[in-house]
């Protein structure tokens, strides 16, 4: 009996002690729009790693792609009065109520990856955004295409223009809209002649992209010379479809064809996922626009630390636009 009591006492004490071990160890809610998203998985892992440099930890919430769920989670989180909330919103247009709630509760709010309207960010003194400029990714994507054109003609059927298919993400999604819009504009205004076959909507999804493309290949007259995708997942899905249609790979040997081969179709993605890098290494995917999640995570965690310690934000490693917004540059990624 006495021994049991002693044990109990020891457990209780050790519990109290461990709770006291890191005084002021803040737990920051990390709200992710959808943990099924490959890119967000990478981003989350990199954020958790980056936070180890600081005296706080993340508590991850998954909204499953539903703003409704995220709203409810947000309401609950605010009630617990955390020192700060880091959020990757589901719906960037409709987040102003969240900003309002956080402001009422006096909780600093850091958005990342999906950018709320600038007017909403500026409406509250303690709201920040860390992300990338969507249009920049498209511009780099175009640069990649131009680099390829220096090497290859791409006009396989020699009709004077390059038959191009754009894979678009979710309509209304900021990245999907901007990337599609910008790349479209750049291709149209290019000195090279691009024949834009269509903008195929595949919702950022790999399997969706494969399905859509296979559907197109059922038409024997379908001929494509360039595929530009809003993200890596759809780009890889497109490659899956090309391979299944007897392109990209020598059907007899199973070896990946050389870029100069007639049946090799250039595909360009955005994000720089590990699977995409692998695909580039194998010679399938031509290139991607590297969304530097590691760098972004460093910047986000640095910003959080500064906000928690109320340090001068001008001392951050990246400049703040409008005093609230940090854009991280995209980088071109090719097989050397």
């Amino acid at each position: 009996m006495k021994r049991k009591l002693m044990l109990l006492l020891m457990f209780t004490l050790s519990g109290i002690l461990s709770a006291c071990q890191t005084p002021g160890d803040a737990v920051i809610p990390l709200m992710i729009y959808d943990q099924d998203d490959l890119f967000m998985q990478t981003f989350e892992a990199s954020l958790l790693e980056a936070s180890q440099a600081y005296g706080y930890t993340f508590d991850v919430y998954d909204a499953n792609g539903s703003q409704l769920i995220q709203n409810n989670q947000f309401k609950d989180i605010v009630a617990e009065n955390p020192p700060l909330i880091l959020i990757n919103p589901v719906d960037r247009v409709g987040v102003y109520p969240l900003i309002e709630l956080a402001e009422q509760a006096g909780i600093p709010l850091v958005f990342f990856n999906r950018e709320p309207l600038r007017e909403d960010i500026l409406s509250s003194p303690d709201t920040y955004y860390v992300g990338s400029e969507a249009s920049q990714s498209a511009r780099i994507q175009y640069e990649l295409i131009e680099m390829l054109l220096e090497e290859l003609a791409l006009d396989v059927n020699q009709d004077g223009s390059i038959q191009t298919l754009i894979l678009k993400g979710q309509p209304g999604h900021q990245d999907a809209e901007i990337r599609t819009d910008v790349i479209q504009t750049l291709l149209m205004s290019s000195e090279h002649a691009f024949d834009l076959l269509d903008v195929e909507v595949a919702y950022f999804d790999r399997q969706e992209a494969t399905g859509r493309l296979l559907q197109r290949f059922t038409d024997e007259t379908f001929h494509v010379e360039l595929i530009v995708s809003n993200n890596d997942a759809m780009a890889l899905g497109a490659i899956d479809a090309l391979v299944q249609s007897g392109l990209m790979v020598n059907p007899e040997t199973g070896d990946v064809l050389d870029r100069s081969a007639e049946n090799w179709v250039p595909v360009v993605g955005i994000d720089g996922l590990d699977v995409a890098i692998d695909s580039i290494d194998r010679g399938l995917l031509y290139g991607t626009v590297f969304h530097n999640t590691d760098l972004m995570s460093d910047v986000i965690t640095e910003l959080i630390e500064a906000l928690l310690t109320e340090a001068d934000l001008n001392g951050l490693s990246q400049p703040l636009m409008d005093g609230r917004v940090i854009y991280i540059d995209y980088e071109a990624y090719l097989d050397d």
Partner: protein, 576 residues
């Protein structure tokens, strides 16, 4: 408490115990079912309210999505390089025509001046607020939705509308322009969504835009922050929960509509919930109450069926105390065990009856034996004395006296023996007394006289034998006066109840205190006079308490012993 429970009847105890157990169980079951039901119902209502809200939000979302798609398609059409002004006009007209929810389609240039609309003949109202133009141009990728209550672009358009606008690139006669495309979307379609899915009484919905604008309200007079419902939405911002508004319970759910700047608030009337809870409470309560009543009544009947025979048996047993009811058997129908018990009881009663009868018989035998013993007690010394007297008379040569004495003695003994019978006709008893007197008169040398005063009616009755002789013996011993001749009178009378015998002797008489001493001695077994006591005991033995045995005396005149016995008729066989 213990005392009360001990004093309660079997039936009551059963009923109380049953009632306590059943009502306890019922109350527990009642509370459990009520709370389970209400909690479930509350959860159900909450889920219902949430899902209604979500359903409306989804409907709204798809509604806006449809319009965005439509606008996207139109945007593409406007961007056709071959577009002529009439192409643009035609496409706007056909889009407006094919979509009845769109009241107007207008294409503005970058400066905000109207370029085209669906129907050129419509008269454009001058609009000073160009915020939507600026917003659309600053966010070229966004579909901007602007509430415009009570306003429309064109004269004659009366429907309330919502403005949806987007920056577009349009080609007009070979030239490319930046502009803003604007749809005026009729609110009636949204109202229909709200009304169709939210029919509950008192429940209502609000569609609220940014800057606290109420776009839609299914509640009349609820268009700004003065309305409590709107105020609640502005306070809560988003979320859901139970709220009280103007004495009414609501489940309020406020959600954003994706890709718009609108919030949807639904107010589900939970008074319905309370009324339902109350009804539920009453229904369950009545079910349980009637179960309790029916159960108690049924149980009472059952327990009575058990206890009624028991009570009957109990009452019967109480009556047994009265001797009259001792031999009554009880007849009980009902519960098997109790019927068996009553049978056992009856068997026991029969047993007791037999035992008692045997006891009585034994008692009788004993009495008779005692009586005989007492009767025989008298004889010896009288016989010796008489025989001595006869011897004396013979010596004095008085043959007549001897003869008389022997005859009398003979008769005396004949009656004394009476074939062993204890009860003899009174006539015989009187005869016996006379024979005795005759003997004694001779023995006492005629010192006394005797006289019989007998009512003839006494002859038809009987008495136990040898009761007068000891009294006479007593009268002779105590009544004979040496100086003068005394008289012994034997009287016999009958009244309603008794046969009375009086034995009186003249003489000194005795005092009242002496009489009391005699009574005391007779009763207490101390009196030397064997004779009197013997008579008293025999009378008691035979007639029990229904006898008279008393003395009265007049000093210097006489002393009388009075005996009364119950009247018992002579039977024919008693004749000798």
């Amino acid at each position: 408490m213990k005392k009360i429970t001990r004093e309660l009847g079997f039936n009551w105890k059963l009923n109380v115990v049953f009632f306590l157990i059943i009502s306890g169980a019922l109350i527990a079951a009642f509370l459990a079912s009520y709370f389970t039901s209400t909690t479930r119902f509350e959860g159900f209502s909450e889920n219902n309210a949430i899902s209604i809200n979500q359903q409306i939000a989804l409907n709204f979302e798809s509604y806006f999505e449809e319009n965005r798609v439509l606008m996207g398609l139109l945007e593409e059409a406007l961007d056709e390089p071959s577009n002529t002004p009439s192409d643009i006009q035609a496409v706007l007209t056909s889009y407006q025509f094919s979509n009845p929810n769109i009241q107007s389609i207008t294409l503005f240039d970058a400066a905000g001046a109207i370029q085209y609309n669906d129907t050129p003949t419509k008269l454009f109202r001058n609009r000073s607020d160009r915020t939507f133009i600026d917003q659309s141009l600053t966010n070229p990728l966004l579909y901007i939705t602007t509430p415009q209550p009570g306003f429309s672009f064109y004269y004659g358009d009366t429907d309330d509308t919502l403005l949806m606008s987007k920056a577009v690139t349009y080609v007009d006669a070979g030239e490319t322009f930046e502009g803003v495309l604007a749809f005026e979307i009729k609110l009636s379609a949204l109202e229909a969504i709200l009304e169709n899915v939210y029919p509950e009484r008192g429940g209502h919905s609000l569609l609220i835009g940014p800057n606290e604008t109420v776009i839609l309200s299914t509640l009349s007079n609820c268009e700004d922050a003065t309305c409590p419902s709107v105020q609640l939405v502005l306070d809560q911002v988003i979320g859901s929960g139970f709220e009280s508004l103007e004495d009414r319970q609501y489940y309020v759910s406020i959600q954003t509509i994706p890709q718009t700047r609108f919030r949807l608030a639904t107010f589900m009337n939970m008074d319905v919930l309370q009324t339902t809870n109350r009804t539920l409470f009453l229904v369950i309560f009545f079910i349980f109450l009637s179960a309790l009543v029916v159960g108690s009544v049924t149980f009472n009947l059952v327990s009575k069926a058990i206890t009624r025979p028991l009570t009957k048996l109990q009452n019967h047993m109480k009556n047994v105390n009265h001797r009259d009811h001792l031999y009554e058997e009880v007849s009980i129908q009902g519960q098997r065990e109790i019927v068996e018990l009553s049978h056992e009881y009856n068997r026991m009663i029969r047993e007791i009856r037999t035992l008692l009868k045997n006891l009585e018989k034994e008692e009788d035998e004993k009495r008779k034996t005692e009586l005989i013993a007492l009767q025989t007690q008298i004889n010896p010394h009288f016989l010796y004395n008489t025989l001595d007297s006869i011897v004396g008379l013979s010596e004095q040569n008085k043959p007549q006296d001897v003869i008389d004495m022997v005859v009398s003695l003979s008769r005396f003994f004949r009656i004394s023996i009476s074939k062993g019978q204890a009860i003899i006709p009174i006539q015989k008893e009187l005869e016996h007394a006379e024979n005795y007197l005759k003997i004694q008169k001779i023995r006492y040398a005629y010192q006394f006289d005797y006289h019989f005063d007998v009512d003839a009616a006494v002859h038809q009755y009987t008495t136990i034998k040898l009761i007068l002789q000891p009294l006479i013996e007593n009268a002779i011993y105590h009544g004979i006066d040496q100086d003068e001749k005394s008289l012994i009178t034997i009287a016999a009378q009958v009244d309603d109840e008794f046969v009375h015998f009086y034995v009186t002797n003249t003489g000194y008489g005795i005092t009242q205190s002496q009489i009391e001493t005699i009574y005391l001695n007779i009763h207490e077994d101390r009196y030397e006079s064997v004779g009197l006591k013997n008579v008293y005991q025999r009378l008691k033995l035979y007639y029990q308490t229904q006898i008279i045995f008393e003395f009265y005396s007049e000093l210097d005149v006489s002393t009388t012993v009075h005996i009364g016995i119950p009247k018992q008729k002579v039977e024919a066989s008693d004749e000798t």
